[in-house]
Symmetry: C3
Subunit: 170 residues, 3 copies
């Protein structure tokens, strides 16, 4: 794992980091919405975590999370569960992410991102699409062989409870 | 019709294409949300198509589409229908597009775009706004006299059925 | 208050203005969604206004607005109301903005922005999040000591009536 950035950053370099962060988040959203979970996995660094937690619990300092995959192995297991264990036993749906502009802080320790999002779902037996959740990403990204990868993907949900269970990564 | 792009593209040129694509999609959304359908028409190339189809039908390889305007004439006809035939006979509404970041592939054949979207509507007799649909654009753009224009606007809906009929272009 | 822009603008300068406008709107959304209202205040110029009005009233030329804070003092008062008077007496909620790409016109008089938005809310006793409103910003921005600030923040709602009262700035 190599960090390719050093302080201070000029405007051109900053623009380039922003472009790469946007592309990473777009690929992330495209991979999970398209249910291409191997591609999703490929966006994480070797040491990584994927967490889904409510804003309420973050603010109260409660560690209770809906998802707490604190290693690459657990994130791999999640894909196996989705694709092999749960498949055929769940009410399936399509997913659609919309993201807001990212707020990016880049320094020697890496790149930290805050970015709002909304996820909509479409279910086979229901007319129209509906909102599954809104929230904010608080991510940490590192450059691995020149490519940005998630060291931490932290999905913070605005609501305390979602209107239905979710299957695919948010 | 002139293609102003040749492979390979440097980062500056790529940035410029992205800026123009974003501006085109923003104008598209602004024109349809503002019901300025002549402006909407002006964003298409001479040879063009406008298609609305469900993801379900795309995946199954079914050609059945909600809208299949496969020529400039048909797209013009659509505007006449909306502005002269349907007007006063439909339950009208306002429309609001939100778009995700575009994924752009530019080569000698033109520019292909994939871009997620959500469309909300507001109806006179209903409190608040609601989601009409989410989906993805799979568009093809060419440069005509230096300006980007749609050769194909392909609107792929996430849901199989929408919660109400739609009148304005998506 | 200093205007740092002169016509004509080259592409680099234009890119820089767009970047600053995006950052301003992102900070605005982050401040109101995070209920950091002092930060929200700090994004306005000394002479400023904050208006929330329905599209219907704009189109009919009716001056009736949901919010009409036509001076910095009134905007300050709003914060006092939200943080000291209403607090504990309202049904509270979390807010989440998503913004579309801005349309920016910059000339000697300043910078004018049109930008679509959606605001979602999450309420403690309700499962999931829901749409509060969609609409469009029609803002005017000036550079104050080199930083972009709102001279006018004009929030135009697509719906005539919202599904519930709103407390925090839109």
């Amino acid at each position: 794992m190599t960090m390719t950035m050093d302080r201070p950053h000029g405007p051109v370099e900053r623009h380039d980091v922003e472009r790469q962060v946007r592309a990473l988040q777009r690929r992330y959203a495209s991979a999970v919405d398209g249910k291409r979970l191997d591609e999703w996995l490929s966006l994480f660094a070797a040491e990584c975590s994927y967490v889904v937690i409510t804003r309420e619990n973050v603010e109260r300092g409660l560690p209770l999370a809906l998802v707490f995959d604190d290693s690459s192995d657990r994130i791999h297991d999640r894909v196996v569960y989705i694709e092999e264990v749960w498949k055929g036993h769940i009410n399936d749906y399509r997913q659609r992410h919309l993201l807001s502009d990212p707020e990016i802080v880049a320094d020697d320790d890496g790149i930290r991102i805050r970015q709002g999002f909304a996820v909509y779902i479409s279910e086979p037996s229901v007319a129209g699409s509906r909102l599954l959740t809104t929230g904010e990403y608080e991510d940490e990204v590192a450059f691995v062989d020149g490519e940005p990868r998630f060291r931490e993907k932290r999905v913070i949900l605005d609501a305390d409870v979602l209107p239905r269970y979710f299957v695919y990564p948010l």
